[in-house]
C-alpha cells in the first residue's frame, strides 16, 4: 500500500475537447466540440440472445440503466412478435417515470441550478452543489435528497435487482406488483409529487424572480433556433415510455412522425472532417451544415425538445407549469437553451404525478404481466425518451433470436449538432478581441450543460471528473491559449 497524491490529469482522449479558432481581430471564427466514444459496445452485444440484451444494456450507463433496460426490452417485444399486456406496459411506464424523478433531480440540483442560484461568475469553489445547499438551506437540501431516494426505492422494487434492473422481458415484466408493494409505491409517489412541486417552487423563486437570471436565460448567447424531436401520446402530450416520434421545424410546423424502423427515413448521419464522429441531421431537409435558423437540418432532443413538440402534459400540475413556461418566454417553440433546465423541472413534476397515477391504477397489481411469445421476427426497434432525449435501440437477430446486428443512438448523439452550435455561440459571445479568461470556461460549459452530455457515462473511474480542454487557436492556426477544468 502507498499513499499518493492524485494527479488529476486523466484521460483527455475519450472525453470532451473543444477547439476554438480566432480570426485576425481575435474574435471567434469557429468552434468545434469533439468527443471520443467508448468503443465496441454494439459489438459486445452481437452473439447474445435478445432476451439477455435488456439485462446487459442496463450496465451501459450507471445513470441511465432503467432507460437502456426498457428500450432494449421494447425492441425484444418486436423480435418475439409480441405485444406486452396492458399491466406490463403500465409497470414499465411506472418504472421509467420513477427513473425520471431521480435523474432529473440529480441533474437539476447538482449540475443545472448551481449556475443560476450561486451565479455563473461565482468562484468555482462556490459554484457547485455545496454552494447551492448554502443558498437554499440544509433543510431544503435534506428534503430533496430524502425524497429523491424514494424514486430509487421504487426502481429497486420494480427492477428485480437492486442496481441493474433485470425484470423486463419480451412481452412483459418478470414480476407483478403485489397490493402491499402498490401501497408502498403510492405512499412514496405522494412524496415525489411534493418534490416536483418544491422543485418548481425553487425554480420560480430563485430564477424567475431574478431579472439577471432571466436575462441570462433569454440571452442571445444561449439561443439556438433548431428543429425538435420527442415522443407524444395519442393526444399529442409528452410521453416518456411510448408513443410516436414527432419532429417540428424551427417555427413549430410538423415535419413528420415516425415509429420503429421508420427512424431511418428521417435521421441521417454526416461524417465530419474534423471529427471521426458522425453528426445526425434531418434527412428530409438535407445537410445544411452546423447552422441554426430557419431551414437548418439540425434537431435537438431532450426536455425542452419534448415540451416544444407536444401540445401539453398528461398530468394537471405539470400542465399548469408547462403553460406558464410558454407564457413567460413568449415564444413557441422555445429556442432558449437555458430553458432546458426549466423544462426539466416541469418534467420532474410530471413524472412524479404519473408515478402516483399509475400506482393508483387498479390494473397495476394484475398478475397478467406477460404475454405469450410469437414467432421470432428477426428485427426490433425500441424507441424511448431517456431523460436526455430520444434513445433508439435497433437489433437484428437470426431465427433463434441471437443478435447479429445492434445499433444504438443515444440522446447525446442526436444533440451533437446543437451542442457544437451552443458552444460556438457562447464562445463568440464571450471571447472578444483575443480576450480570454477563465470565466469563459464556465460560460462555455453552461452552454452545453443543459443538454447534460453523456459522453463516457459507462465509466466513472476516480477522480471522476469529465475533463474538458478548450484549445484556442489564432488566425494562423497556432495554439493561443488552453483552458482546462482539470
Amino acid at each position: 500500500m502507498k499513499k499518493i497524491e492524485i494527479n488529476p490529469i486523466t484521460r483527455l482522449e475519450g472525453h470532451g475537447k473543444i477547439a476554438i479558432f480566432l480570426d485576425e481581430s481575435g474574435n471567434v471564427a469557429e468552434a468545434f466540440f469533439q468527443v471520443v466514444e467508448l468503443r465496441g459496445y454494439e459489438k459486445f452485444l452481437v452473439g447474445m440472445p435478445i432476451e439477455e440484451v435488456p439485462r446487459t444494456v442496463s450496465t451501459i450507463c450507471g445513470v441511465c440503466r432503467a432507460i437502456h433496460h426498457t428500450a432494449a426490452t421494447k425492441a425484444s417485444d418486436q423480435i418475439y412478435g409480441v405485444e406486452p399486456t396492458e399491466t406490463a406496459k403500465k409497470i414499465r411506464e411506472l418504472f421509467v417515470n420513477a427513473h425520471y424523478v431521480e435523474d432529473h433531480a440529480v441533474i437539476l440540483y447538482a449540475l443545472g441550478l448551481p449556475d443560476f442560484v450561486v451565479g455563473p461568475e461565482a468562484d468555482p469553489a462556490e459554484r457547485n452543489i455545496v454552494g447551492l445547499v448554502k443558498k437554499v438551506g440544509v433543510d431544503v437540501a435534506k428534503e430533496v435528497l430524502r425524497k429523491r431516494s424514494y424514486a430509487v426505492k421504487i426502481l429497486e422494487m420494480l427492477g428485480g435487482k437492486p442496481i441493474h434492473p433485470v425484470a423486463g422481458l419480451p412481452g412483459g415484466w418478470s414480476k407483478r406488483i403485489t397490493e402491499d408493494e402498490r401501497q408502498e409505491i403510492e405512499k412514496l409517489a405522494k412524496e415525489l409529487v411534493e418534490l416536483g412541486k418544491l422543485t418548481i417552487q425553487i425554480f420560480e423563486d430563485v430564477i424567475l424572480k431574478n431579472e439577471k437570471y432571466m436575462e441570462l436565460i433569454t440571452s442571445d448567447a444561449y439561443r439556438s433556433v433548431l428543429n425538435y424531436m420527442g415522443t407524444i401520446d395519442e393526444k399529442g402530450r409528452v410521453n416518456y415510455y411510448d408513443g410516436v416520434q414527432k419532429i417540428i421545424d424551427t417555427k413549430g410546423n410538423e415535419i413528420g412522425r415516425f415509429t420503429g424502423k421508420e427512424y431511418l427515413n428521417y435521421i441521417a448521419e454526416r461524417v465530419l472532417p474534423w471529427s471521426y464522429l458522425k453528426m445526425p441531421y434531418l434527412k428530409t431537409i438535407g445537410w445544411k451544415g452546423i447552422v441554426d435558423g430557419d431551414g437548418t437540418s439540425l434537431y435537438s432532443v431532450g426536455p425542452l425538445a419534448r415540451l416544444n413538440v407536444a401540445d401539453g402534459m398528461n398530468t394537471p400540475l405539470a400542465q399548469e407549469a408547462y403553460e406558464k413556461m410558454f407564457d413567460v418566454l413568449k415564444e413557441r417553440p422555445i429556442h432558449y437553451v437555458m430553458a432546458y433546465h426549466w423544462a426539466r423541472a416541469i418534467e420532474l413534476l410530471n413524472a412524479a404525478e404519473r408515478v402516483l397515477e399509475l400506482a393508483q391504477d387498479p390494473e397495476i397489481t394484475s398478475p397478467d404481466v406477460r404475454a405469450e411469445l410469437g414467432e421470432v421476427t428477426g428485427e426490433g426497434v425500441g424507441i424511448i425518451e431517456a431523460p436526455r432525449g430520444t434513445l433508439i435501440h435497433h437489433y437484428k437477430t437470426d431465427e433463434k433470436g441471437i443478435v447479429t446486428e445492434a445499433n444504438l443512438i443515444v440522446a447525446t448523439t442526436h444533440n451533437k449538432g446543437p451542442i457544437t452550435l451552443a458552444i460556438r455561440k457562447a464562445a463568440k459571445h464571450f471571447i472578444k478581441n483575443g480576450q480570454v479568461d477563465e470565466k469563459i470556461l464556465n460560460y462555455v460549459e453552461m452552454a452545453f450543460r443543459p443538454y447534460d452530455l453523456c459522453l463516457a457515462c459507462a465509466t466513472h473511474v476516480l477522480p471522476g471528473r469529465l475533463p474538458i480542454e478548450i484549445n484556442i487557436y489564432d488566425c494562423d492556426g497556432n495554439l493561443y491559449k488552453t483552458l482546462r477544468n482539470f
Binding site: M1, K3, V130
Partner: protein, 149 residues
C-alpha cells in the same frame, strides 16, 4: 461498529468492474453489509447513511502500474477546483455533500480503496491480469480493516 463495504463500477467495462468484483468476493466469505453501485452520485449516500464506517472500493486511473492498490481519504481524491461535472457527481463531491447535509448520519470513518486500472475503454466482463491479481489482496485488506471493529 456498524460497517458497510461499497463497490463502485461498471460490471462490463473491463477494469472498471474491479470494485464490484472485490465486494462480490468479499461477501462470499465474510458476513458484512455490502452494496454495489454503478454511479457516484447521491445513491452513495442512500447506501452509507446510518453506518459508523464505510469502506468504498473503486477503480482509479493515475498512470501508475496497473493493480497498484491505494488507501485514500476523501481529500486525496478531491482534486477539482470546480465541483461541476456535466454528467455525474464525483465520489468526493457526493461524500463532502453528505457531511454538509447529513452530518449526524454520515459514517464517522470513510476509507476509500482504489485499484489502479489499465483498460476502462473496452467492453468485457474480465479485468486485465494485473488488476485481477489485485482483487484477493484488496479483499484481505478489507477483511483486516473490518476485524478492527
Amino acid at each position: 461498529m456498524k460497517t458497510i463495504v461499497v463497490g463502485i463500477g461498471n460490471p462490463i467495462l473491463r477494469d472498471d468492474s474491479v470494485g464490484i468484483k472485490v465486494v462480490e468476493e468479499l461477501s462470499r466469505d465474510v458476513d458484512v453489509d455490502t452494496a454495489i453501485l454503478t454511479t457516484t452520485n447521491f445513491e452513495v449516500l442512500d447506501k452509507i447513511l446510518g453506518y459508523d464506517k464505510a469502506i468504498i472500493v473503486d477503480a482509479i486511473q493515475t498512470g501508475n502500474e496497473p493493480g497498484t492498490i491505494y488507501e485514500l481519504s476523501i481529500d486525496d481524491v478531491f482534486v477539482t477546483y470546480s465541483f461541476t461535472n456535466t454528467h455525474n457527481l464525483t465520489l468526493a463531491t457526493t461524500l463532502k455533500l453528505g457531511y454538509v447535509i447529513f452530518p449526524e448520519k454520515m459514517p464517522k470513518e470513510i476509507k476509500l480503496i482504489a485499484i489502479e486500472v489499465e483498460d476502462v475503454e473496452n467492453f468485457g466482463e474480465e479485468c486485465t491480469p494485473k488488476v485481477k491479481e489485485a482483487i484477493p489482496k484488496v479483499v484481505e485488506t478489507i477483511k483486516k480493516e473490518i476485524s478492527k471493529r
